[in-house]
């Protein structure tokens, strides 16, 4: 962990619609750290991410993000929300999606009338192709989104989150709906970006296994509380049992994968957005 703090949460509580989603969450993340945020459905993982962006208010506690308030830090954060994938009839090219991440919030349209405006446009287009190259999406960036696979879409969305050169990436289930090789590839890509560019990555996931070897630490969310630390110290039977208040067992398979047994998870996994 580097000395500089990227995220500092102190006893944060968040209530949505009268229901307390986060009760007492404290979390410190250093600049350039890669932290996996884990926990069962409805534990408030997405809510915590939205609170870090200043999109939901804190009920109590304090949040310092990139040295300022979440809302003020928002322009320096790359955000990839939880999603179901794009509508099949949406006819937009990947490159235009990435470009929107850069200039989509600006009013008016660029006319390129002055030399500096043309220069700015050139720099922006260069930046767009650079991040597309970085995530390895160049071969299909000109194709319509609805013809791309989940893994290809996810890479373009990561490029969109990266295009503003953010100091912090907040990614809500980017590995969701990807097959295992793609999960490993995207996880590796994010690990590389985090190390090479000193970008802090906060990644919400259902399963820690694709992130083993990439994530520096995990933050486990359950029952409105968070428990953060290295994987081998947090994902253990006694620690998770204490967090859930129920007996949990953690098994390690021969190839090093972790299996959490006994957590009161939803009976079957479904890919839809849930309202936590």
């Amino acid at each position: 962990m580097s000395a500089k703090s990227a995220i500092s949460l102190r006893t944060v509580a968040v209530a949505l619609g009268g229901r307390t989603v986060l009760r007492d969450v404290s979390l410190e993340v250093g600049q350039g750290e890669f932290v996996a945020v884990l926990g069962p459905n409805g534990a408030g993982k997405s809510t915590l991410m939205r609170a870090l962006l200043g999109l939901v208010p804190l009920h109590s506690g304090s949040a310092v993000v990139l040295g300022t308030t979440p809302a003020q830090a928002r322009t320096r954060i790359g955000y990839l929300p939880q999603r179901r994938g794009f509508d099949h009839s949406l006819r937009v090219r990947g490159i235009d999606l990435v470009r929107l991440g850069l200039d989509g919030a600006r009013w008016g349209i660029p006319l390129g009338l002055t030399r500096s405006a043309r220069e700015r446009r050139r720099v922006e287009l260069e930046r767009v192709s650079e991040v597309i190259e970085l995530v390895g999406a160049s071969p299909y960036a000109q194709r319509p989104l609805n013809t791309l696979s989940g893994g290809e879409q996810q890479r373009l969305l990561i490029a969109q989150a990266l295009v503003t050169d953010p100091e912090l990436l907040i990614l809500d289930e980017p590995l969701d709906s990807l097959d295992l090789p793609n999960q490993a590839a995207v996880s590796g890509l994010l690990g590389r970006i985090s190390k090479q560019r000193n970008v802090t990555v906060l990644l919400v996931a259902h399963d820690v296994n694709p992130l083993l070897g990439q994530a520096d630490r995990v933050a486990y969310l359950a029952g409105g509380h968070a428990l953060a630390g290295p994987v081998e110290q947090v994902i253990t039977g006694p620690k998770l049992s204490a967090l859930y208040g129920a007996p949990i067992e953690v098994l390690r398979t021969a190839d090093g994968r972790l299996v959490v047994v006994g957590q009161p998870e939803a009976p079957h996994y479904h890919g839809h957005r849930h309202p936590d």
Partner: protein, 283 residues
């Protein structure tokens, strides 16, 4: 066009004949304004898959005109008011991050039904005969005055300027509302503003084309353009080109025929769309 003109084999003399009448020039001017506005607003409508909302807004001309006649307002004002009210209603009950298309569609369908029912009520309460329901539904291409053309032009320029101002945030909010919101785009405001712009564009265009045929200008040109290109700027330019082709060809053919203009504009629009589908599906 009731007074059918004979078509000769000389295209130049046919064109000069066409441009020799003031009413024909006014019709072309008004049609051009309506086509450009509808093609641009329609491009966003098709991208956002809000065709049902657009159609509902077009139908609002009916309660608008009948309601205006009932309380003694100009029909044009009735169009604007009814379309805007419907847009605000759809926007208020409309799309949120979690609302499904099913919920939005149900809200729009309700607005459409209430609008039509109100229109029939107003029609029944109007003891005087309304000035031509055909005009309301199928347009008044040929009775347009120069003053009306200038009025249309001003409204169209204001609406196009507003669309230009919100173009990029609107595109962002249409493609990816969650990220757009996090990046500081006021998604709900942009959605609502677009619906009002769409409503006013529909009200403008339907004065020329009629409530039923406005959809030909609003839907077919952008739908065809989006089959051909996904580039936003190229798509908008192509959409406008198709819209102009619809109006100019429709009016040109109608001039030499005894049948109504609306039939020819709509047919041209449908032919353009179908040909585009045929050509693009082979690629």
């Amino acid at each position: 066009m009731s007074a059918a003109s004979a078509i000769s084999l000389n295209p130049l003399s046919d064109l000069s004949q066409l441009f020799s009448y003031r009413f024909m020039i006014s019709a072309l001017e008004a049609g051009t304004i309506a086509a450009v506005l509808a093609a641009v607003a329609g491009w966003f409508m098709v991208l956002r898959r809000q065709s049902f909302a657009g159609h509902t807004l077009a139908v609002m001309a009916f309660p608008g005109a009948t309601g205006a006649a009932l309380i003694g307002l100009p029909a044009t004002l009735g169009y604007y008011l009814a379309c805007t009210a419907a847009a605000v209603t759809i926007g208020a009950g409309g799309r949120t991050a979690t609302a499904s298309y099913g919920e939005e569609t149900a809200a729009i369908g309700t607005v459409q039904t209430v609008g039509l029912a109100a229109g029939f009520l107003f029609l029944a309460l109007n003891h005087t005969v309304l000035g031509g329901p055909e005009t309301l539904l199928f347009g008044t291409f040929l009775g347009i005055t120069t003053g009306q053309v200038i009025g249309l032009l001003i409204v169209a320029l204001v609406l196009l300027a507003a669309l230009t101002a919100i173009a990029r945030p609107l595109l962002f909010a249409s493609v990816d509302p969650a990220v757009a919101g996090a990046r500081g785009v006021p998604v709900r405001v942009v959605d609502a503003v677009f619906l009002v712009i769409l409503a006013l564009a529909v009200a403008v265009a339907s004065q020329i084309t009629g409530a039923l045929l406005v959809f030909a200008l609003l839907l077919a040109p952008p739908a065809a353009a989006q089959l051909i290109t996904m580039r936003p700027l190229a798509g908008l330019v192509l959409s406008v080109a198709f819209g102009l082709a619809v109006v100019w060809l429709g009016l040109g053919i109608a001039y030499f025929s005894p049948y109504p203009v609306g039939f020819f504009t709509t047919t041209t629009a449908v032919v353009i769309y179908l040909l585009t589908r045929l050509v693009t599906s082979r690629r």
